[in-house]
């Protein structure tokens, strides 16, 4: 390993050690010249003093430079999606100041990220709503018009032509259904009109229809009220979790639950599939980053972890409105 690549602590210690050893040798040589009877034991004394000085030097350096190494490590590993990671302001006053400034910088970055993230998510939701409306009102209308026109053509006497029209109608109906499905996924109207429990019930029904995997719903009778943003975060995390189950979990059943927490609401999506390691290997982060982002923006806590009986558990806790 090259000297310049060594940690600062070891570089300073190596230079100090070299200087002290040279000084010790010079001292021994000088004593040897002055007193011809330079004894072996005197050499041992010098060696012991050298070791003690080097030890003290190392401890002092570690005390001073340790926090800087931790700071560098933290700078490398810091993740703004996991807020509140701070460093203890220890060490000499300059180092403590440096750590304090770094902590303040993290604070600012987290705040700015939260604000810009909220703006981005609002813009995304608003764009989704616009696309959903366009799909429903424009593309949907056009396809319905095509269906009506095909109906009028269905009376043709030519059996080949009738068959062709019927096939085209089937294709158009499929396209219309697909457009409606995409529009629903883009904009959960049920959430706006009937609330979170109804929206999740509808989401789980659709999930079962599409994937064939039964969902056991466990919604508490009474839940603390949530803000619109928190409700949307819960809905989107449930949607993403169910999508992951359908795509990667190879599960035979899913449990979807809403329960009261500590002045909060807890969403739990638990499957009995192949587990988190295999799911991650297949799916990378499995939309985890997006879920974390949503949780963070509503001051929620998201855990994606192995379920007790195998499979994966996604747990999102969001604070109640006004909490």
């Amino acid at each position: 390993m090259r000297f310049s690549r060594l940690p600062l602590l070891w570089r300073i210690f190596a230079v100090n050690a070299a200087l002290l050893v040279i000084a010790g040798l010079l001292l021994a040589l000088a004593r040897g010249r002055i007193h011809e009877s330079f004894a072996f034991l005197e050499g041992v004394d010098i060696a012991i003093v050298l070791v003690v000085m080097l030890g003290a030097n190392f401890l002092l350096l570690r005390h001073i430079l340790g926090p800087i190494e931790r700071l560098v490590e933290r700078m490398r590993s810091v993740d703004l999606l996991r807020p509140d990671q701070r460093l203890a302001e220890r060490g000499g006053s300059e180092v403590a100041q440096l750590v304090a400034v770094f902590n303040q910088m993290l604070e600012r970055l987290e705040t700015e990220r939260r604000v810009s993230g909220q703006q981005a998510l609002r813009a995304q939701e608003s764009e989704r709503a616009r696309v959903s409306r366009s799909l429903h009102d424009e593309v949907g209308q056009v396809l319905t018009g095509v269906l009506l026109q095909l109906d009028s053509l269905a009376g043709s006497r030519d059996p080949g032509q009738r068959r062709a029209v019927e096939e085209t109608k089937r294709a158009v109906r499929q396209a219309l259904e697909e457009v409606r499905r995409i529009a629903r996924e883009l904009r959960p109207e049920m959430l706006e009109h009937l609330g979170l429990v109804s929206a999740l019930t509808e989401l789980s029904r659709r999930f079962t229809d599409q994937s064939g995997i039964p969902v056991e719903r466990r919604f508490a009778d009474r839940l603390p009220p949530l803000s619109d943003e928190a409700e949307l975060a819960v809905y989107r995390v449930a949607q993403e979790s169910l999508t992951n189950v359908a795509r990667h979990a190879d599960a035979s059943r899913v449990e979807l639950g809403l329960e009261p927490g500590a002045n909060s609401v807890v969403l739990r999506v638990v499957d009995d599939g192949r587990g988190i390691a295999e799911a991650r290997a297949l799916n990378g982060n499995g939309g985890l980053r997006g879920m974390r982002e949503r949780a963070l923006l509503v001051s929620g806590a998201l855990a994606v972890k192995p379920a007790r009986d195998g499979g994966v558990e996604v747990r999102l806790e969001v604070p109640a409105a006004g909490d």
Binding site: P260, A262, S264, A320
Partner: protein, 151 residues
């Protein structure tokens, strides 16, 4: 509405570190506290490395303690730096409290050694509580009774 809030207030979360030799004692304390206050208890074991043998041992320790304490206890096995992992679990689980074990040191075991607390306190905004070591004298009241009967 007030009743809902009161019921909800009883469902906080405690994350308990069971990584070292005092882990079991801390887990018993966390469980007693959780039972008394209606808190969800999550036991966390942090493995420093990805070796299969270490993870197997950790899993067996973790499930052993969890089974001993009962069904309501949840478990998390994490890999990496202990302080960072505990802070991460506390954040992900929305913990209200992190409990860690301590060893008694000094004359007559009067002092507690728990360097982890100092690092954890800086790493997470969640309060950290030190479970006293099992060798400490217990009072005859409240939580201590729970610990004494469970331990």
């Amino acid at each position: 509405m007030r009743r809902i809030a009161e019921e909800a207030r009883l469902r906080g979360t405690v994350v308990c570190d069971v990584t070292d030799s005092e882990g079991r004692n801390a887990a018993v304390f966390a469980h007693a506290l959780g039972t008394r206050l209606g808190l969800r208890v999550v036991l966390a074991f942090v493995v420093d490395g990805v070796g299969a043998a270490a993870q197997e041992t950790a899993t067996s320790t973790l499930t052993g303690i969890a089974n001993e304490l009962g069904d309501g206890v949840e478990i998390r096995l994490e890999v990496g730096d202990r302080v960072e992992a505990l802070a991460r679990v506390a954040g992900e689980e929305g913990a209200d409290l992190v409990i860690v074990g301590a060893r008694a040191v000094g004359l007559g075991g009067r002092n507690l050694r728990c360097r982890l607390v100092r690092d954890l306190e800086a790493e997470t905004a969640v309060p950290v509580l030190v479970a006293p070591p099992s060798t400490r004298r217990r009072s005859e009241q409240r939580l201590a009774v729970g610990i004494a009967t469970s331990g």
